[in-house]
Each structure stands twice: as structure tokens, then as C-alpha cells.
């Protein structure tokens, strides 16, 4: 523990499925580092991340407070440590409370990390999202290898697509747990995406595809990306150190707003001042390239209409007019063409921008 002369500092350590992350709050500065998860006792992981902390922050680190966070299943073992233990749920809740205040609206964190691979998804549920033919045995083998080594990153395009498909099914499963086919997102929510492959996703279009395929944004949601994948570690810090004066939103990228429509033929009128109009057909995904301002969108169907107010923060607004459940099955050429077409529709100029995955 800290000597009397040492500055006040807090170290938060979070044991994830693939990495152990450490975050140090000292002198108004926030620094973080991580080490790969080592199979076996948590003490290995603590020692490994401790080495990274020394390398990154210097050997003189002597935090006055240490907070650790890990999966509920391992909390008992964490209690042996000379530190304050917080649950993952508490860390996420602290981060959500913080972001709700900072982003000016209800905020939810979506953390689809490597723990998604611990679930056993049937191979055909995964393969239906792929724009290419795949052997179901290969899918099963990929999922099983990933369960043994959740830290590995996809090397080939095929592996990357498989991992994105797992992310979709993991989100859909969240809805199933609530008795729904899809997870419905409430009005005006800020959705902050963090964890695993999604945090480091190379193409924003791929992130949007995953989210539009697996959520239902009834009245629109603003989507943010936690590119540095440190939000849960920050939440661990916040859970016990409410006074941390740091603007974490600087690490979030607004990737756009999204809304699901009724899946019927109609027209969309949008704009802040100069209104524009375009026709939409069932199955369409449309990008509205609007600026920072909040725009009014009127969607007119044959027998009804709806009004929306949304801001894509310069990244634009994505309208999804596909009927649910999505009509795709494993091994069908039509389904593969549909999946590829949806992806193409999302490959706008903005969404095609590369993501810096160096963190």
C-alpha cells in the first residue's frame, strides 16, 4: 500500500475472458495497459498485468487503492486479494450512469467480448450470417477452438466473418433471454459498443451490419464505439471512485444513428430546413447523410405514418426497412446474396472509414 508521501492513486484491474486490463488514475491522469489472459489461477493474470503496469507506468507505482473486477463465477477467488472487489454488473452500471450524464440521455453499454464464445451456438445459426458457403463442421471446430483460446484474433476474412456472426447471435440471445426474437432498444438511447472484436472492428459498416441485424431500434438509437475497449475498466474505477474527473467521451466515436422501420413500402421526408424525399421499399437499408443537427424524419406508408427526430452527429442516420425476423437460412444462395446486399447498402463513405485497431 502507499507510503505517506506517495500521491493518491487508484489502480483498477479487470479480469476479462481474453485479457486482464489495468487502469491507473493518478494526478488527474488516466493510464491503462493490459496482458493476455493466462489460463489457470487469477494470480498468474494479476502478476502478468502487474509486469505490464511496471513496463508502462514505471516500477514506482504504489497505488493507495486497488479495485478488482471479474466474472461473478470467479468473485470468490477475487475476495482473497487485498483489494476492493466489484462485480462486472456494478462496473458496467457505473459506466452507464457516467455516460448517461455526459452524453445527455439514457445510455446502455453493449459488451460483446470473447465471453460470447462460451455460449454454444448451433453452427447453422452462425453460418446463416455468412456471405459465403461454409462447412458446418468447420464452423463447430472454429467455435470450439475459440472457446479454448478466446484471446485469438481473426486472421482471414472467413474467420473475421465467423466472429461477427457470433457477435450477432450473442446479441440476439440477449433478446431471447427476455422472451423476444430480438432485443428492442428503447426511445432515444445512446448505445455504446465495447469489447472484443467490435471495439477493434476495421470497418464501421461491419459494426452497423451486426447491430442492425441483431437489434430492433424502434425509435432510433445513437451508436457510439469505444475504440480503445477500456470502458469496463473505467467503470470499475468509477464504481469505487465517483470523483474521477476525466472525460472518457473523448475516446468514443459516434458512428451514426439507426432506426428500424415497419418493413412496408413508403417514402421518407427528412431534413432540418430543406426537406428531401426518397422512396423506400421493404428490405431496404438507407443511409441519410445528415449533418450534426437534429433532423425531423417523416416516414409515410400506405395506411399510416410515423415521425422521428434524430441526430446522427455528422455520421448520418441509417434507416432499416427490413421485416423481422430476417429471412435467412444456412446454406441458401439467396440468403447469402441477401446478406451481401445488406452489407453493401451499409458501405457508405463514412462507414467505410478504417478504424484504428492499434489499441
Amino acid at each position: 500500500m502507499a507510503s505517506q508521501t506517495a500521491p493518491e492513486s487508484t489502480l483498477a484491474v479487470i479480469f476479462g475472458q481474453a485479457v486482464t486490463r489495468a487502469m491507473l488514475w493518478q494526478d488527474g491522469q488516466l493510464r491503462s495497459t493490459f496482458a493476455l489472459r493466462i489460463p489457470g489461477e487469477l494470480s498468474y493474470n494479476l502478476a502478468a498485468v502487474g509486469r505490464e503496469v511496471e513496463k508502462s507506468f514505471g516500477k514506482g507505482i504504489d497505488p493507495s487503492k486497488v479495485i478488482v473486477c471479474g466474472p461473478s463465477s470467479e468473485l470468490d477467488r477475487l475476495k482473497d486479494l487485498d483489494a476492493t472487489v466489484v462485480t462486472e454488473e456494478k462496473a458496467v452500471a457505473a459506466a452507464e450512469k457516467y455516460l448517461t450524464a455526459k452524453l445527455g440521455g439514457p445510455t446502455a453499454i453493449l459488451d460483446v467480448g470473447p465471453s460470447a464464445y462460451l455460449d454454444h451456438f448451433p453452427a447453422d445459426q452462425i453460418s446463416r450470417w455468412l456471405p459465403f458457403i461454409v462447412n458446418l463442421t468447420d464452423v463447430e471446430n472454429h467455435l470450439a477452438n475459440k472457446r479454448d483460446y478466446p484471446r485469438v484474433i481473426p486472421v482471414t476474412e472467413h474467420e473475421y466473418e465467423l466472429d461477427l456472426a457470433v457477435a450477432r447471435q450473442a446479441i440476439i440471445k440477449l433478446g431471447e433471454r427476455q422472451g423476444k426474437d430480438y432485443l428492442e432498444v428503447e426511445d432515444g438511447l445512446n448505445l455504446v459498443v465495447t469489447g472484443g472484436l467490435l471495439s477493434g472492428i476495421p470497418k464501421i459498416a461491419d459494426l452497423l451490419a451486426v447491430l442492425l441485424d441483431s437489434f430492433v431500434f424502434r425509435s432510433g438509437a445513437r451508436i457510439y464505439l469505444d475504440k480503445e475497449c477500456r470502458l469496463t475498466a473505467f467503470g470499475t474505477l468509477l464504481a469505487e471512485e465517483e470523483g474521477v474527473d476525466y472525460d472518457y467521451t473523448q475516446h468514443l466515436e459516434l458512428v451514426g444513428a439507426a432506426v428500424h422501420l415497419a418493413g412496408e413500402e413508403g417514402s421518407v421526408t427528412f431534413g432540418a430546413h430543406d426537406k428531401q424525399k426518397l422512396a423506400i421499399a421493404p428490405g431496404d437499408i438507407v443511409h441519410l447523410p445528415v449533418g450534426e443537427e437534429t433532423v425531423q424524419i417523416r416516414v409515410s406508408y400506405r395506411k399510416s405514418s410515423e415521425k422521428l427526430e434524430l441526430s446522427g452527429g455528422g455520421a448520418g442516420i441509417y434507416l432499416d426497412n427490413r421485416l423481422r425476423p430476417l429471412d435467412i437460412v444456412s446454406g441458401s444462395k439467396d440468403s447469402m446474396a441477401r446478406v451481401a446486399g445488406w452489407r453493401k447498402a451499409l458501405e457508405t463513405e463514412k462507414a467505410e472509414e478504417g478504424n484504428d485497431t492499434s489499441s
Partner: protein
Amino acid sequence: MILPVKRRVAEKEEVLITRRLVAPGKIVVRVGDKVSEEDILGTAEVSSGVKEIDLASMFGVSAEDVEKGLVKEVGQAVARDEVLFQVKKMLGLRRAEYTSSVEGTISDVRDGVVSIKSNPTEVPLKAGFAGVVEKVYEGEAVEIKAVATTIRGVNGFGKLHFGEIKVVGRGNEILLPQDLDSDCSGKIVVGGALLAADTIEKALAINVVGFVTSGINFREAVSFSTREKAGLGLLILEGYGLCSFDKELLELLAKLDGHYAALDGEEAVLMVATGGQGGKSASQPWRELKTGDAVRVVDGVELGKIGKVSKIEAGEGALPSGLTTKLIKIETKEGDISIPWQNLEILDN
């Protein structure tokens, strides 16, 4: 970059082997005793149960006639091939008799059915591993401190299985049913880049004890959890899918062909009895990756490839997936490959 360290092969490692009687019985060794591979640790008494012989139906006589014709009474011992029952047929012109097919004691005679409780069979338990008796579980098991060559895989199924090592097939091909023959019975079969479903079926038919394979499809591996009852264990060395055997590892296993071994699927380890002097295997679970390290690729198209780190790239490189990360250049026997650092583990052999 800190990476997990794996000690895949440890020669002359001190291990604790638990040898268990097949049924309750008698242990004849004591703590501290030195035992050789052939020494008997104890004997189990296995009862074959009760055999019921429906003599009334068999000879077409009444229950009373059965009782009259019995040569022995309830509680008396019966030897194999001893006459148990006699009856006169065809107006007394022909005599028919029944000779016992089991050795035991007559436990009951009811409704023309005779029950014989078989005598227990003694099943000896060989040590298999030379060493020193560390613990005795009276009437059940013995723990031996032995010296073995241990080989650790990535996953496994089944509890402890014992048998001789038998190397078959080729390390870079699918292990097929024709690679197994009657000589594999009672043995731990080693080989194959992939263990085919049909091969597993044949193994069950010829009483193979277990498999050490480089790769296996996940759906076949899962079937081992149900076949565990049939006494088949599994050690997966590289991962799920088709993965060629590491040549050096296969050569080592070929040298150990015929040695007695224990396959522990739950701990994903094969312990081969080698004897001699050994020590405890201590390996640091992680360390900084450096040039010259032996590494193994743990996933993806290069799964199971082993090589030496020739360069740790200073910057980050792009992968075909679109992700960027620090890449590690590795010299393998098949040529140089570049792999993301996250997809490696250090081998400490």
C-alpha cells in the same frame, strides 16, 4: 508482449498415478514400498452375479419334479461341469441331466428355477508404473509416485485410462478404421491428423482404451463424453479440425511405443511410464516473448504449427481480416509465417 508458456513435453517428470481396483478387494502393498511395473498391488473380487436356470421349462417338467431331481440342495457349492439335475423321461427309459456352466452356490429354488450365485473372480491390479507407494486407499486404490514422460494437449475427455502406447497411421493423414487392428485392443492408440467417426466406432468394437490425436472434429470429440462409459479416453494435442501431428512429437511417441501409459482426459495429459530418476516439472505460466523462442500457433489456418521466433515486428501489420496488430515472424520447417502475437503460446520444452 507477455504470452502464456506451455510445457508440452516433460521427460523424467515426477507424477502421481492412482491405480484403482476394478471392484472392492484387497491391497497388498504398503506406503513406502518400492514397486516395479509388473508387481501386483492388490486383487479385486468381482462377482459375476446370480445365474437363473429355468430347469422346468428346459426339460418340460413340473416345479415339483425339479425339486425331486436336484442333486444338490440350497446352500451347497456347485462346480463347473458338475451334474446339478437329473430326470427320467420316456417312461423311465431315458435319463436327462443338466451340468452346471458356472461355479458357485445354489442360492434359491423356486417355481422350477434354480439360482446359482457365482463365486467371485479375482482380478489382480498390476502397478504398470515403477515407483514408490505414496498412499494406500484400503480395499480400493494405490497412489504411486513414479517417473514418466508427460505430454500435454489442449483438451481431452474421460478420466484416467491405462494401456500400452500403440502408434498407428500417419501424422498428416486422417486416422481411418483400417489403421486399427486387433493388436490395438487394450491399448492407447496414437496417430492421425484427424480422428474419423468410423475409427472411433471400430475402436469401441475392438476395445481400444483411448486415443491421442492431433486433431478431431468437435462433434466427434463431444461424443467421447457419452462413450466414456465404454472406457474410451481422448487427448487432443493441437485442436479441433484437421491438424498435422508435430513431427518431433510423433517421433518421440514412436520411441515410446509399447510403453505403459496413463491417459488423463480431464487434465489433458498423457503420462508414459519411463522409470528412472525424475523431478517435479516447474514451468513459469507466462513470460515476455523474445526472439528465438519456440512458439505454437493456437488457432486459425496455421493451427498447431510450431517454429522459432525470428523477428518481432516493430510496428503493426495488417491482416487479411482487416485488423491490424503486432506480427511475429516465425521460422517453421515448412517456411516462414507471420502470426499475430495474440494467436501464439510459448513452448517450454
